[in-house]
C-alpha cells in the first residue's frame, strides 16, 4: 500500500533536513502508529505525504500502490485514495461544509471516471456518517470549520474521511484537543472505517489514542528516522519509560 524508502526532507530553502532517511512500509489493512517527541518530524511526514508546498524532498522515494506518490499533485493523491486528517484543520469562511464535502466527493469520483453522487444519496450518506462520528447536523450547513470548537474540527476531519472512503488514512495528532468522550467518539468513527483493504497511519504524541485505535505496528520516530518498531505493547512501554528511556536503549 505505502512504501517509504530512505526519505530525506528539508524545509524549502532550509539547510537542515527534518526527515533523515525514513523507511516504512504499510500493508493493506494494517494500522501503524507513529509516535515521537516534539520536533521529531511527525507532522512533516504527514504533510509531505499529502503534498503540501514548502518542503523539499532531497532523497528517497514514496510509493503508493504502484504510483510514485511524490510526483502527484495533492488533489491527485486524494483521488488515488490518500487522506490526511490534519492536526490543525483550516477554517474556510464563506464555504459551506456540506457544499465542500460534496464538491470533494464529486471531484474524486470524476478523477476516477465515475459519475457524480446523486443529491439525495449524498444527503443520506452525509447524515448517516455525521451521526456516526458525532457531528451535529447544524455544523454541516455552517462554513467549513468556522467557529468550530477544537473537538468539532477533529470530528469534521473524520467525517470527511468517512465520506471520502480513502485507501490510506493518515491521522495527524487527531487526539490533540479532544476530551475523553470526544476521543472515544472519534476513535469509534475511525474504527468503523477499519477494513482489510484500508490502511491507516496514526501519528500521535500519546499512548491514550492507541487504547481506542489499536495499532498492528508501532514505530518510534525521533530525529527524522524510525528508531524502533514493535507491536502495540511498544506504545505502553513508551508510556511507562518515556521517549528518553526507549531511545536511550535503542541508541
Amino acid at each position: 500500500m505505502l512504501k517509504i524508502d530512505n526519505l530525506e526532507v528539508a524545509v524549502e530553502g532550509g539547510d537542515d533536513t527534518i526527515l533523515k532517511g525514513l523507511t516504512l512500509e504499510v500493508k493493506p489493512g494494517e494500522v501503524h502508529a507513529i509516535m515521537g517527541p516534539n520536533g521529531s518530524g511527525k507532522s512533516t511526514l504527514a504533510y509531505v505525504l499529502a503534498g503540501r508546498d514548502g518542503y523539499e524532498v532531497r532523497g528517497g522515494s514514496v510509493t503508493f500502490g504502484d504510483e510514485d506518490l511524490l510526483e502527484l499533485e495533492p488533489e491527485e493523491r486524494a483521488a488515488a485514495g490518500l487522506f490526511l486528517a490534519m492536526q490543525y484543520p483550516v477554517e474556510i469562511p464563506g464555504v459551506a461544509n456540506n457544499y465542500f464535502l460534496r464538491q470533494a466527493m464529486n471531484a474524486i469520483r470524476q478523477a476516477r471516471g465515475e459519475k457524480d453522487i446523486p443529491a439525495g444519496e449524498f444527503i443520506k450518506k452525509l447524515k448517516e456518517k455525521a451521526a456516526l462520528v458525532g457531528v451535529r447536523e447544524e455544523l454541516l450547513k455552517r462554513d467549513v470549520n468556522s467557529g468550530f470548537s477544537g473537538g468539532e474540527k477533529k470530528r469534521n476531519e473524520i467525517l470527511q474521511m468517512a465520506m471520502l472512503e480513502p485507501k490510506l488514512c493518515i491521522l495527524d495528532e487527531t487526539d490533540s484537543g479532544l476530551d475523553i468522550d470526544a476521543l472515544r467518539t472519534v476513535a469509534d468513527g475511525v474504527n468503523a472505517l477499519r477494513d482489510p483493504s484500508r490502511s491507516m497511519v496514526v501519528i500521535t504524541h500519546y499512548q491514550r489514542l492507541l487504547d481506542h485505535i489499536v495499532p498492528d505496528v508501532v514505530h518510534v520516530l525521533a530525529n527524522g528516522r524510525i528508531r524502533r518498531t514493535g507491536g502495540k505493547e511498544l506504545a505502553q512501554e513508551l508510556e511507562n519509560s518515556g521517549y528518553e528511556g526507549i531511545l536511550g536503549e535503542a541508541a
Binding site: A50, A104, A111
Partner: protein, 445 residues
C-alpha cells in the same frame, strides 16, 4: 473652468448635439434651453483628465473622448434580454435598449394606486419633472453631458405610505455593433413619499461585441420613513463602458439597503453621493467588483451626514486579476450638526496577479465632536493553507482557487435581496473564474 486641465471634447460631440438636439425628448421646446446650457458648459469644461482629483485613478477620456453616435433602435432577441430578467414572476420591468425604451418587452401596466412609472420621454411633458431634472446640477461634465443628450429613462414615484409589493426592475441593455461606437445617456428619477417602500432592481447588461458607452444619472429621493432596497448588477463585456452617477437624498428615519456588483466591462465608474438630510436616516451600501484582463472599476462614494443620529455603512470587496484595476474612493463627511453619527467604511481586496492593482482611498472629514466613525482597507492574496486544504480533499487547484475567490466576494453577493439577481451575479462571477465551472453546484442549493 477646468478647461486647462481637461480634454476638450472631440468635434463629434458638437456635430452630434447641433444636429440631434431638437429630436431629443423635450428638445423641440421645453428642455431645449437646459440642454443647450448644459452642453455649452460640458464643451467648455471638457472631459476630466487624471489631474482632476475625482478622476485621479481613472483615465476616462480614453473611453469617453472618442467619436460616438447616439444609440439607435435595435432589434434584440427575447432570450438575450430575458436572461437578465430578475425579481421573480411578480416583478414589473422597464427595459431600455441603447437608451430607448423597449415597449415590447417592458411590463409596467396595471400598477397599484400611488405607484407611477413613466418613460422619461413622456414624463418631460410634465413641468414638475423638468424642474427635478434641472435641479440636479453638480457641475460635473458627465452630468452636464447627460442633461444635454438624455434620450430616455424612467420617472418612478411612490406616494406616501404605499408599500410596493413587487420588485421593479430597470434593465439597461447596451447592444454593441461592429459598425460604430455608440453612447446613450439615460436618466432615472426615483421618489419615495413618506413611509413608502420599494424594491428597485437595476440591471446593466452588455449584449454583443462592440463599443458601448452608457452615461447614467440617477436622482433618488427617500421621504421621511421611506425604505428603498436597491439591488444593482452590472454585467459588461470587453467593449462596454458604464459611467453612473447617483445622487441620493434620505429623509428622516428613512432606510437605504443597496447592494451592487460590477462584473466586467472596459470601464465601470460607480459614483454615488448620499445626503443624509433627516435625523436617524440609515444607509447600508454593499459592493463587489472584480476587474480582470484590462478592466477597470472605479467606485467613488461620498456620504454626507448632515443631521444627528444617522447611520451609514459602506462595505466593498474587490477582486483584481490579470491587469485588472480597482479603485475605491470612499469619503464620509460628518457635518457640524451631525452629532451621534455612526459611520463606517470597509474595503477588503484580493489581488490575484502581480499585474493587478487596487487604489483604496478612504477619507473621513469630521466637523462634529460626538461621532463614531471607522474606516479600514485590506489587501491580500488567497490563503495558501486554505488552498492546500481544499486540494488535499481532491479539489483541483483552479476550482479550489475559484471556491476561495467566491467565498470572498460572495459575502457581498449574498446580500442581494433579490434571489434572481443573486443567482445571476453568481453565474457571472463563476463565468469569470478559471475554475468557475466547478462551482455550478452552488446554484443548485
Amino acid at each position: 473652468m477646468n478647461a486647462v486641465r481637461n480634454h476638450p471634447p472631440v468635434q463629434a460631440f458638437h456635430d452630434l448635439f447641433s444636429a440631434g438636439k431638437t429630436g431629443l425628448p423635450g428638445g423641440d421646446g421645453p428642455l431645449l434651453g437646459l440642454r443647450e446650457t448644459r452642453f455649452a458648459r460640458f464643451a467648455d469644461a471638457g472631459i476630466p483628465s487624471q489631474r482632476t482629483e475625482a478622476w485621479k485613478f481613472t483615465n476616462v477620456a480614453r473611453h469617453a473622448n472618442v467619436p460616438m453616435a447616439l444609440g439607435g433602435h435595435v432589434q434584440i432577441g427575447a432570450s438575450e434580454l430575458s436572461a437578465f430578467f430578475c425579481g421573480g414572476h411578480l416583478a414589473r420591468r422597464m427595459i431600455f435598449v441603447n437608451g430607448h425604451v423597449s415597449r415590447d418587452f417592458s411590463h409596467v401596466r396595471g400598477l397599484p394606486e400611488g405607484v407611477s412609472v413613466r418613460v422619461l420621454a413622456d414624463a418631460v411633458d410634465d413641468g414638475e419633472v423638468r424642474e427635478r431634472i434641472a435641479a440636479f446640477d453638480d457641475g460635473r461634465s458627465f452630468t452636464d453631458l447627460n442633461a444635454a443628450l438624455m434620450q430616455s429613462g424612467a420617472v418612478i414615484d411612490v406616494a406616501d405610505g404605499v408599500h410596493v409589493a413587487f420588485p421593479l426592475q430597470m434593465l439597461f441593455a447596451a447592444v454593441g455593433s461592429q459598425r460604430a461606437a455608440t453612447m446613450n445617456h439615460p436618466r432615472l428619477l426615483v421618489r419615495l413619499g413618506r413611509g413608502a417602500k420599494l424594491h428597485l432592481i437595476e440591471t446593466h447588461a452588455a449584449l454583443q461585441d462592440g463599443s458601448t458607452f452608457t452615461n447614467l444619472v440617477s436622482q433618488i429621493e427617500l421621504g421621511d420613513e421611506a425604505e428603498l432596497i436597491h439591488d444593482r448588477l452590472q454585467a459588461g463585456r470587453d467593449g462596454s463602458v458604464l459611467l453612473s452617477k447617483a445622487d441620493m437624498r434620505l429623509g428622516e428615519r428613512s432606510r437605504l439597503r443597496q447592494t451592487l456588483a460590477s462584473l466586467g466591462g472596459a470601464l465601470v465608474r460607480n459614483e454615488s453621493t448620499l445626503h443624509l438630510d433627516g435625523t436617524f436616516a440609515d444607509a447600508v451600501m454593499n459592493g463587489a467588483f472584480m476587474p480582470t484582463a484590462r478592466e477597470h472599476v472605479d467606485n467613488a462614494i461620498c456620504v454626507h451626514h448632515r443631521q444627528p443620529d444617522c447611520h451609514s455603512d459602506q462595505f466593498y470587496k474587490g477582486v483584481m486579476d490579470g491587469y485588472g484595476r480597482g479603485v475605491f474612493a470612499g469619503r464620509i463627511v460628518v457635518h457640524e450638526d451631525a452629532q451621534r453619527t455612526n459611520a463606517f467604511q470597509t474595503n477588503n481586496n484580493l489581488l490575484l496577479s502581480d499585474d493587478a492593482e487596487i487604489d483604496s482611498k478612504p477619507e473621513l472629514e469630521i466637523y462634529a465632536d460626538d461621532v463614531k466613525c471607522s474606516h479600514g482597507a485590506t489587501c491580500g492574496d488567497l490563503d495558501e493553507q486554505s488552498l492546500f486544504y481544499l486540494r488535499s480533499r481532491g479539489i483541483d487547484a483552479d476550482t479550489a482557487r475559484s471556491i476561495l475567490v467566491y467565498a470572498f466576494a460572495g459575502e457581498v453577493i449574498e446580500r442581494f435581496a433579490d434571489e434572481g439577481t443573486r443567482r445571476l451575479a453568481m453565474q457571472h462571477v463563476f463565468a469569470r473564474l478559471a475554475g468557475g465551472g466547478g462551482l455550478s453546484g452552488m446554484l443548485e442549493g
